[in-house]
Amino acid sequence: MALKRRKKDLTFLEKIYIPEIAKGLALTFKNMLKPKFTMQYPEEKFIPPPSYRGRPVLVMENNGVERCVACGLCSRVCPPLAIEVQAAETEREKERYPIKFEINMLRCIFCGLCEEVCPEEAIVMSKDYELAFTNRGDALYGKDKLLTPVNQLQDRIDFLRNYK
């Protein structure tokens, strides 16, 4: 094996190593006095920017009706198959609506493809990142948990309109 020579030999000061150690120690000591980045979680909470992809939710219009027409594209595109949609007929002008819309949060990978594929801007990624369950059943989010008033999601919708 050919020995690879260093480009530049170390100077004596570098070789005795002690000044370098001192530099390192000085750096860490300086940092000890700097302000801290820690966020005191349950008391202080991180408010994500609009580009954040939290838990996917369904947009609920001001009249209390979901935008979703149960086309099933989100369900089709979902890589981990987290979304289940069952359509049904309604008397409203958009004749189709989801009688069941369930996201299995244990499967969801927060990729945002559902939001990207949605033709109705009906499913968007919220800022909710607090997801903890104690059993599998709790992780199934039905319409009751998914429907979110549109004004709470305006941030994200504006972001999507600008960048999608």
Partner: protein, 561 residues
């Protein structure tokens, strides 16, 4: 054979064939909306325009006869730009409601919009609005906005169903489809228009919004609505049959099937009242039991009667395999000669197109594999009479709801000391049964059935049970089936503990000390092919997807009409 050149490829054709027909024969599909192989040529959609050398203008491939030496280009720049222009026209007034439309995923307009559309519309004006959600008939819903006026449905009613019920009204872009005054689209074949409609204008009210078509797995099977044996696809999601669609078989049903078969022959499979395990009657009520327990009970009960006190009733709804094993069980293990099956005949049902008066799918098959009285044995009426007299004390009934058909039998059969029934659902017959075995439906097992003209065709499982596993059995899998787990509410549906009747009989004979060495339905069929001359030389491979004819001259008794 004469030849012409299509896109640089020599294609053989028969005199009188159009370009599109000849192309289809040799595996090239020229885009089309209004043309359908079984319908007359209308030529109104213009999407099949092709360039033909020495012709001044483009011609539509569906109505231009192929001629010797013709040179046709279906993918030339000229043809493509014409097709793109036609697509732009078709899309002018077509709504962008694919997310709502049931046809999405199997829509010709959608497909061609992808392959030939310009991707955006230059049409700024308001689209024409027509009537939406019009129920044309009890089973078909019409959406005027989506209609591209190809007239396939009108031609179908006129030419195939022979019952003109639909027509165009108005002109130009206001043209729409209505039923004739005072009529509705209610012919027995009306739902075929939803299959041939190239867009989502005509949709099935039965299937409407139940599922997206890409979520379904499709299994080639046979309709069990009558003895025609129409070839069908069983379309399943979450282990539930959601719709049946006809499958082309020129020898049986061409592209079509009747509404009865489409709507009424699958719901019992998904029903809540399915028998989901063996049941034994204890203290007057049917109670759930295990398989071994039920086999032991049935075996010891059967052993306590002399062979002449036991009668067997096979089924024209069960497969040949099931009936064959029942006949073997009756003759070899029990030794009785009293054996027959119930005919199901409805004179009002048959017509001169597809529907047959014999409303059971496998009467001929049951008879051919040996469900008939032995020498000196009793036939069905004889059995009923002897039950009444008390000479026959035990009846073994396979997959037939006798009492629904003949309610007067309820009182008679209640007298029986032992009434063993294979049934897929709880019904009038199981009410008086002593032992009920859960039988798989036709959508849950491999098997063969024989139609009225002696064509043996294959059933394939589309719904998984404890007996047939979707992955292990090689059943068709949707993406949902493939990746589902037992923790998902959409994967395994209601998987039931039902078995094919032949397997139940094999288990029961094992309990009676006689082992049949069949592992699969195919092995039973091999035995049928060996021992019954009409089936000689057949196997599952030979039957394939389109069926095979039995050598029926060797059957002593001809089938009922």
């Amino acid at each position: 054979m004469p030849k012409f050149v299509l896109d640089g490829k020599e294609i053989e054709f028969e005199q009188g064939q159009t370009i599109i027909q000849a192309a289809k024969k040799s595996g090239i599909t020229i885009p089309h909306f209004c043309w359908h192989e079984s319908l007359s040529i209308s030529g109104n959609c213009r999407v099949c325009l092709v360039e033909i050398e020495k012709m001044p203008k483009l011609a539509i491939a569906c109505s231009t006869l192929a001629a010797e030496g013709m040179v046709v280009y279906s993918e030339s720049d000229k043809a493509l730009s014409a097709r793109n222009a036609v697509m732009e026209f078709e899309l002018i007034n077509h709504p962008l409601d694919c997310p709502i439309c049931d046809e999405a995923g199997e829509c010709k307009l959608q497909d061609y919009a992808y392959s030939h559309g310009s991707g955006e519309s230059r049409f700024n004006e308001e689209k024409i609005h027509k009537d939406k959600r019009v129920p044309l008939g009890p089973l078909v819903m019409f959406d005027g906005d989506r209609c591209i006026s190809c007239s396939r449905c009108i031609r179908f009613c006129d030419e195939i169903a022979k019952d003109p019920q639909l027509t165009f009204i108005k002109r130009g872009d206001r043209i729409t489809i209505v039923t004739y005054p005072g009529k509705e689209l209610d012919n027995p074949y009306s739902m075929n228009v939803t299959d041939i409609c190239p867009v989502g204008a005509l949709t099935s009210r039965d299937f409407r919004f139940k599922a997206r078509v890409w979520e379904l797995s499709s299994t080639k099977s046979i309709c069990n609505g009558c003895s025609r044996g129409c070839n069908i696809n069983l379309e399943v999601r979450n282990n539930q049959v959601l719709r049946l669609t006809p499958r082309q078989n020129e020898d049986v049903n061409s592209f079509w099937m009747c509404d009865h078969g489409r709507v009424n022959t699958y719901k019992f499979i998904n029903a809540e009242d399915r028998v989901d395990s063996p049941y034994l009657r204890r203290g007057g009520t049917l109670t759930r039991s295990g398989w071994d327990e039920a086999f032991a009970a049935a075996s010891s009960e059967l052993k306590s009667y002399s062979k002449n006190e036991i009668a067997f009733i096979g089924s024209s709804f069960a497969t040949c395999e099931d009936n064959f094993l029942l006949s073997k069980f009756a003759t070899q293990i029990i030794g009785t000669k009293h054996m027959d099956f119930m005919p199901h005949f409805d004179s009002g049902f048959g017509d001169n197109f597809l529907r047959k008066g014999d409303t059971a799918p496998n009467s001929l098959g049951a008879k051919t594999v040996g469900i008939f009285p032995g020498k000196g044995g009793l036939d069905l009426e004889g059995i009923i009479k002897s039950v009444k007299d008390g000479q026959i004390k035990a009846v073994f009934l396979m997959e037939d709801n006798l009492i629904a058909l003949r309610p007067e039998l309820k009182e008679i059969f209640s007298k029986l000391d032992l009434f063993i029934v294979h049934s897929s659902n709880f019904n009038e017959t199981t009410e008086i049964a002593d032992i009920v075995f859960p039988a798989s439906t036709y959508a849950e097992k491999h098997g063969t059935i024989v139609n009225f003209e002696g064509r043996v065709q294959r059933l394939r499982p589309a719904v998984a049970t404890f007996d047939v596993d979707r992955a292990l059995e090689g059943m068709s899998l949707s993406r949902w089936d493939k990746f589902g787990t037992k923790f998902d509410s959409w994967a395994e549906g209601n998987k039931r503990d039902a078995r094919s009747s032949w397997r139940i009989l094999a288990g029961l004979s094992g309990a009676m000390g006689h082992k049949y060495r069949y592992g699969t339905a195919e092995e039973v069929f091999m035995d049928i092919a060996k021992s019954i001359s009409a089936f000689n030389g057949l196997d599952y491979e030979v039957i394939g997807e389109l069926g095979a004819k039995l050598k029926l001259d060797s059957v002593s008794k001809p089938a009922i009409a």
